[in-house]
């Protein structure tokens, strides 16, 4: 028995010596990235796998969560389980006030290659990706403004060739197509997910109507009235349900209704997610109230990455951000049709023939980024919800507008009086060139 024990001890000691002689395997630093984009999942996963194979010091772990993104991040920070990098779909001011995000300006200034590819120092949008001198994220690309996607076969069957320039004609077109469809096909369809934003709000924008009066520094929803009235007419002839975005996309792809509104992400949706093969589909600018373009159509700089303050390996996280916004990564991303380039550097390097239907969403000459409207502590429904409720007949239109004007401005005034925010005024504001004016921040 003693012999056996001695033998066992000897074997264990020998094993210990051998193991201690083996050089310790270098552990990778895991950088966790939370995204709320699902449309580019395949490309992102492939590129992340490529990175992970090529690097023995850093590993990227991507997690996609499309619901309740900002709340989930704040909860994760509180719970000590925060990721290292997050996608930019958050309210910047909240994240900054929470001391949750890192100013990337020092990293950017020290990296000329990054500046060259992303044009980071010139793509600063106050309140959107930057506050003062601090830069919290840099856009990789941009999403176009909303377009009308339409079923050419259904339009032709009702005697139409394309999308008209005025809202009134657009309404009449939807009515006729619904009548011609005789309960089987419909002129137009709306989703339950932010329906106002996807068509009517953008028609108002190009008509020069915006919910923030930049010249006077206050909220003003009065201009939306004709669009809400037109909305009531459209809803009356629309496909009877307003289901989730993907359900409605699937029905559009099946030819259930003719008119759908959404931005450039639909290029990928209707070629990959719900490929349309049974009919031809077109892409057209949204109509305006009287056919004249009086305001810019909003484009959204996007696909930016924020580094969280909770990140323990900030240099490694910066390496990951650099990779996500490297020339190799972005050229493939744009050619894959996931986004539109925002810098001339990338624009000149992509093969546009590979972009597929994304080319149909090339920016119009009246598309522009709007100055970020101050984030206010609002009580009650946001304007998109309330205006849609008015369209659906659940509120009177005038009462809805008056209530929004009151609530938004009261909250704005209070936040300013408490010193949380300042009043944004652009005295020389031009609705066709919203970013061109001189921004002034007032204390009252």
């Amino acid at each position: 028995m003693k012999k056996k024990v001695s033998l066992l001890v000897a074997i264990m000691m020998a094993a210990l010596i051998v193991l201690s002689a083996v050089p310790a395997m270098a552990e990778k630093t895991v950088i966790t990235y939370w995204s709320n984009d699902r449309h580019d999942e395949t490309y992102m996963t492939d590129m992340i796998n490529k990175f992970n194979e090529a690097h023995d010091d850093i590993e990227i772990n991507m997690v996609i969560m499309t619901d309740d993104f900002e709340n989930s991040i704040l909860l994760a920070i509180d719970g000590g389980t925060a990721p290292d990098i997050i996608g930019q779909s958050v309210t910047l001011k909240n994240m900054v006030d929470y001391n949750a995000v890192v100013d990337l300006a020092p990293y950017i200034q020290a990296d000329e290659e990054y500046q060259k590819v992303t044009n980071a120092l010139n793509l600063k949008f106050e309140g959107l990706n930057a506050i003062g001198d601090a830069i919290y994220w840099v856009p990789s690309g941009q999403r176009s403004g909303v377009r009308i996607e339409y079923n050419k076969a259904l339009l032709e069957a009702s005697g139409f060739e394309g999308i008209p320039a005025t809202l009134a004609e657009y309404v009449e077109m939807a009515k006729k197509m619904t009548a011609d469809g005789a309960g089987k096909t419909y002129g137009i369809g709306f989703t339950s997910s932010s329906p106002f934003e996807r068509q009517l709000e953008m028609m108002a924008q190009v008509s020069g109507v915006f919910y923030y009066d930049y010249k006077n520094g206050k909220f003003d929803f009065s201009g939306y009235k004709p669009f809400l009235e037109a909305g009531r007419e459209l809803v009356a002839v629309a496909y009877p349900d307003q289901q989730g975005v993907d359900n409605m996309r699937a029905m559009f792809a099946e030819g259930t209704f003719a008119l759908w509104g959404n931005a450039s992400q639909e290029a990928g949706v209707f070629t990959n997610q719900f490929p349309i093969t049974a009919f031809e589909w077109g892409v057209a600018p949204v109509p305006s109230l009287d056919g004249e373009i009086k305001g810019a159509l909003q484009v959204n700089p996007n696909k930016g990455y924020l580094m969280l303050d909770a990140c323990k390996n900030k240099d490694a996280a910066w390496e990951v951000i650099k990779y996500f916004q490297s020339e190799e990564f972005l050229v493939g991303y744009m050619e894959g049709g996931f986004d539109l380039p925002i810098t001339s550097y990338i624009d000149e390097r992509i093969d546009k023939s590979k972009m597929g239907r994304m080319a149909d969403y090339s920016l119009l000459d009246y598309e522009s980024v709007y100055p970020a409207v101050p984030t206010i502590n609002l009580m009650g429904d946001d304007y998109r919800t309330q205006l849609w409720n008015a369209i659906m007949g659940h509120m009177e239109i005038d009462a809805a507008i008056e209530d929004l004007n009151t609530r938004y401005n009261a909250a704005y005034d209070e936040d300013i009086s408490l010193g949380f925010i300042k009043r944004l005024v652009i005295e020389d504001y031009d609705p066709l060139h919203p970013s061109a004016g001189t921004v002034t921040w007032l204390d009252k």
Binding site: D68, N71, L74, N94, D97, Y98, G183, S192, S194, E197, Y239, P240, D241, Q242, Q243, M251, T256, V373, T375, I376, N377, L378, M379, G380, D381, D382, Y383, R384, T385, N389, M392, G393, H394, M395, Y408, L418, F420
Partner: protein, 321 residues
């Protein structure tokens, strides 16, 4: 005869020992009891009392989850609450929803329990089938019924149209006139299996002798149900009713998935309104955790008041019966 006296039995003149509190606690099993209670008490303190106190803390604050934005607003949340038509409308909607749900779910659960208690072939199978919705997550129930109630491509409208019962599809989720019915159908489907099991369990505890006696007395099935089964199920029925009432008042998850409180605010029940306030929705809208905390307390008061009223009524009925 022995002179030996057992000292333990001999009368003693020694004064009684002073009572040792620690000893008495130990001897009475108090230490063990407290130790066994400790996990539950700690759990209660951490998971119920602390969050409740936390809610109280923010009732007088405007708080959106970001400490830098927190500010004391005094009575403003309270005055806002009394003037908040949308909240009081949601309270009314909750009462309406709870009433309709109870009207259907309790009789249905009872009838199914009686039928399945007949020891017919396949009873166990159907018991499992009816109970199954209870184990499905509320959000999944909501999603399932979204497909069932869809207007254009919904399963229910498809069946009705194929049977020739309707010529035009019903807007189950878009028509304010019928959406509450859709919500009630979903919640009854999801919940009646649970209450049915309570009733089945209650019925199995009723002695067979009682039924035999009623048969000898010539009672028919209906008489047996109303004169024997129902009275003897009264204690279970009371518990089930209380659970059903409190449950109905707290429902919101499946409604959130099915209608998100719409169309308009037609199915916007109390806790759904509070949830949306606390977690925030939409552009520029910020979370209203302070105000939401106040409404949560008010909701707790409302549910508590309803439960107390029910208990009083139930007690009165006991006295009468």
């Amino acid at each position: 005869m022995s002179n030996y006296v057992n000292p333990q039995l001999a009368p003693t003149t020694r004064p009684p020992r002073p009572v040792d509190k620690k000893m008495r606690l130990k001897e009475s099993g108090g230490v063990a009891a407290w130790m066994m209670l400790a996990p539950s008490l700690i759990f209660l303190a951490v998971c119920s009392i602390y969050p409740f106190a936390w809610i109280f803390r923010y009732v007088l604050y405007n708080y959106d989850g970001i400490p830098a934005h927190t500010r004391f607003t005094g009575m403003r949340n309270i005055t806002t609450m009394f003037a908040d038509a949308k909240f009081w409308n949601s309270v009314g909607t909750t009462f309406e929803y709870a009433l309709w749900k109870l009207v259907f779910i309790i009789p249905l659960a009872l009838i199914m329990a009686v039928l399945l208690n007949q020891k017919l072939r396949g009873s166990s199978f159907f018991r499992g089938v009816f109970f199954m919705p209870t184990v499905i997550a509320s959000s999944i129930s909501g999603m399932i019924f979204t497909f069932i109630f869809a207007t254009g491509n919904g399963i229910l409208n498809g069946i009705f149209q194929n049977l020739g019962l309707i010529s035009q599809p019903i807007g189950w989720l878009t028509d304010t006139g019928v959406v509450m019915a859709a919500v009630i159908i979903m919640s009854v489907w999801a919940g009646f299996g649970n209450y049915m099991l309570y009733f089945v369990t209650g019925m199995t505890s009723i002695s067979e002798d009682v039924y035999e006696a009623s048969r000898i007395d010539g009672a028919n099935g209906i008489q047996t149900f109303f004169r024997v089964t129902l009275p003897m199920l009264a204690p279970v029925l009371k518990v089930v009713l209380m659970l059903a009432i409190t449950g109905a008042f707290k429902d919101y998850e499946a409604i959130m998935v099915l209608t998100n409180g719409g169309p308009g605010t037609r199915t916007n029940v109390m806790f759904l309104y509070i949830y949306n306030l606390i977690f925030g929705t939409g552009a520029n809208a910020t979370r209203q955790i302070g105000y939401g905390a106040l409404l949560s307390l008010m909701a707790a008061v409302i549910v508590g008041a309803v439960t107390i009223i029910y208990n009083l009524v139930a007690k009165k009925l006991d006295d009468v019966v």
